[in-house]
């Protein structure tokens, strides 16, 4: 940077001094010369190629000679200097430093609870969009610049600070707010197990109380993560096998699970009940193994078709990829009830199920979808169940992130009967409609619900039913359903409407966005709460309150 600037200064100096020394036009018998200032002015507009004119008089030959020389002398260093300075500002190191500083500042300014999401692939994108809809703040760290650009182009409600950096580096995690008092958790959702492991370890070391969710595709990584206390390890294949089993024996429970952990506002897929009988499983990788294990637990016999049995450790299976009719014949596709295409190649999976459907049109088809970009093919094919790893991981993360009460509810729900789940679903559909509802938790304490808390501590009796009324019209009920009550660390499923509220209660609610907006009014405004309780309107201003007090006192005294 020094050379161009010095070149400019020196060339200007020579040109200006020369021009002021050159003899000018002869005026009134005297040779006029340009002053230094005039020379500087002329050279300025010459070097920058503006070019006004010859002032104050037309130049003499000597001056014009010098001007010609100085044009070439000054213009070239000028452009060289400008070019150099502009390229300095475009220096990638500088840009990176500025971006990182801006990111760290944006994170530092957050004053609501937020989650750090590492990895903005398909899973990350889904999760971020769901959290954003749920009004939960997010910070994203992703190592590929293209994906960060995609994030910036998306239309999110909140401003999401995003950094393109390797999340393995503890420095990056610290800048993303690992030690920030408002950080509520870290989700390690990258495509590589080792990176997820590194993120989990860093998070647990630097901030041990922080909730860590990590994706682990391999068993050893999962075991490794569990050994130092990762809060939730998500293995999409194991989860899917588990969900498939749930679908077989408790469809209502599965539906409820999907519904409560979906992206708010999206529609529910129609349920499909997998038949009991003999199933063919193509592909015995992690996915296949999990499916086979779970199906066998449900007493469903399976026939495994695997192209490389030595690699995957399959003892008793039919060798082949499953895409040819011959292999499927051998596996007995004509009298099977279901087929699972679980290889890691989308085209293979589609080929398997197309061949199978041709041979047995009544087959129940479960297909594994690896990449989102193949979505049109899968949509068109319309399998009975399509498994996408990123959906499963995102749903599982949401279950833990939306509220710890939701995770509690989902695990308690598993031990209930299918009939109970179906009844709850019909109640929910009746209240909130067919789209995925919003799920959130409220806490009755001084910070989050001042009016309610104060009323309770002054001895007023308030039931859950009061809370469910619309603060703008107490005869209307809000569109929401209470799912879980946590009192003194004791959870109660589906609390009754006549339950008396107590300070310290936490309630998990599920309902329409309009209900979610109305509840804070009931919780924090004295006026709204008293209106709901007994229909009286507390006057707003100090003056009227004093006046109405005087009147009511007089009436009490009997005057």
């Amino acid at each position: 940077m020094r050379t161009p600037l010095i070149a400019v200064i020196v060339s200007f100096a020579i040109a200006v001094s020369g021009l002021s020394l050159m003899p000018g036009a002869v005026i009134d018998g005297e040779v006029s010369r340009l002053t230094l200032f005039e020379a500087f002015y002329i050279i300025s507009y010459t070097a920058t190629t503006i070019g006004f004119g010859e002032i104050p008089y037309a130049f003499s030959t000597a001056q014009r000679l010098w001007m010609t020389f100085s044009i070439y002398l000054t213009v070239i260093p000028w452009f060289y200097a400008i070019g150099k300075i502009i390229s300095l500002f475009q220096d990638s190191g500088l840009r990176q430093a500025v971006t990182t500083a801006r990111f760290a500042r944006a994170v530092g300014n957050l004053h609501e609870p937020f989650y750090i999401i590492c990895g903005y692939g398909e899973t990350g994108a889904l999760l971020v969009s769901a959290l954003d809809r749920g009004q939960i703040r997010v910070v994203v760290v992703e190592s590929m610049q293209d994906r960060v650009n995609d994030l910036e182009l998306e239309d999110y409600q909140f401003d999401i600070p995003a950094l393109c950096a390797d999340a393995r580096l503890p420095d990056v995690l610290l800048k993303a707010g690992l030690r920030h008092p408002m950080c509520a958790g870290v989700a390690a959702l990258t495509d590589h197990d080792q990176v997820n492991l590194a993120i989990a370890i860093a998070a647990k070391l630097i901030n041990p109380d922080l909730k860590v969710l990590a994706r682990a595709d391999n068993e050893e990584t999962a075991a490794n993560m569990a050994s130092f206390g990762t809060d939730h390890i998500i293995n999409p294949y194991a989860l899917f096998g588990d969900h498939l089993a749930m679908e077989v024996h408790a469809l209502g429970t599965y539906l409820l699970h999907e519904w409560l952990t979906g992206v708010p506002g999206s529609s529910l897929p129609s349920p499909a009940c997998p038949p009991i009988g003999r199933w063919i499983v193509c592909g015995y990788g992690r996915f296949g193994k999990s499916v086979v294990e779970n199906l066998q637990r449900e007493n469903i016999t399976t026939t495994i078709v695997e192209a490389e049995p030595e690699l995957t450790g399959c003892e008793d299976c039919i060798i082949g990829s499953g895409a040819e009719a011959k292999t499927l014949e051998e596996a007995g596709v004509r009298d099977a009830v279901g087929i699972v295409a679980g290889t890691d190649n989308d085209i293979n999976n589609l080929s398997i199920v197309m061949t199978a459907r041709e041979m047995n049109p009544d087959l129940f088809v479960v297909i594994r979808k690896n990449h989102r970009y193949n979505e049109p093919l899968f949509e068109h094919f319309n399998a009975d169940i399509t498994m996408q790893p990123s959906d499963i991981i995102a749903h599982e993360c949401l279950a833990h992130m939306i509220s710890p009460l939701l995770a509690m509810f989902l695990s308690m729900m598993r031990s209930q009967t299918n009939a109970w789940a179906n009844q709850l679903i019909s109640q929910l559909v009746g209240v909130v409609g067919e789209n995925v509802p919003e799920t959130w938790a409220i806490t009755i304490d001084y910070h989050h619900a001042p009016a309610l808390y104060n009323f309770l501590s002054w001895g007023k009796t308030i039931t859950l039913e009061n809370l469910l009324r619309d603060p703008s019209n107490r005869d209307n009920k809000l569109d929401l359903v209470p799912l879980l009550l946590l009192r003194d660390n004791q959870p109660t499923l589906q609390p009754k409407a006549d339950l008396t509220l107590r300070p310290g209660d936490q309630i998990l609610l599920c309902g329409q966005p309009s209900a979610r907006d109305a509840i804070p009014l009931t919780l924090s405004k004295y006026k709204a709460l008293s209106y709901i309780l007994d229909g009286t309107e507390i006057p707003d201003g100090l003056v009227w309150r004093w006046v109405s007090n005087r009147f009511s006192n007089r009436r009490k005294k009997g005057t």
Partner: protein
């Protein structure tokens, strides 16, 4: 024999000397203050400022600061001179031009003192 230090020292001392040369003489006598010397002082001061960029030490920061002060004062002096030269008030206004260059002189002196201090403590 470090060429970079030679050039650095050369320009700093040259800036001081040119500035001093312009400043010295009766303040209200324009004949004592040749405008070309002011011009040369400005040019060399600018070059010295550019040479001081990029030094991240404390002493480098103060060097740059003094140079910027000197530049500011000298350029203001030049602007003032350009405005009043040729007009009848030149005789009185020349005082102001010279006093501004005196301010720049002090800044250059500080810069040279810093240079001397740096050289003496280095000893290699």
């Amino acid at each position: 024999m470090n060429l970079e230090k030679v050039i650095f020292g050369f320009f700093i001392v040259l800036a001081l000397t040119l500035n001093f040369g312009y400043f010295i003489g009766d303040m209200d006598n324009p004949a004592h203050h040749h405008v070309y010397e002011l011009y040369a002082a400005i040019v060399v001061n600018l070059i010295a400022t550019v040479l001081k960029f990029g030094d991240r030490t404390q002493i480098g920061a103060v060097h740059l600061a003094t140079s910027l002060v000197a530049d500011l004062q000298l350029i203001t002096a030049a602007i003032l001179f350009a405005a009043v030269s040729g007009t009848p008030s030149e005789a009185t206004m020349i005082n102001h031009v010279v006093s501004l260059s005196g301010g720049a002189l002090l800044a250059n002196i500080i810069s040279v003192i810093l240079l001397i201090a740096e050289t003496v403590t280095l000893r290699r």
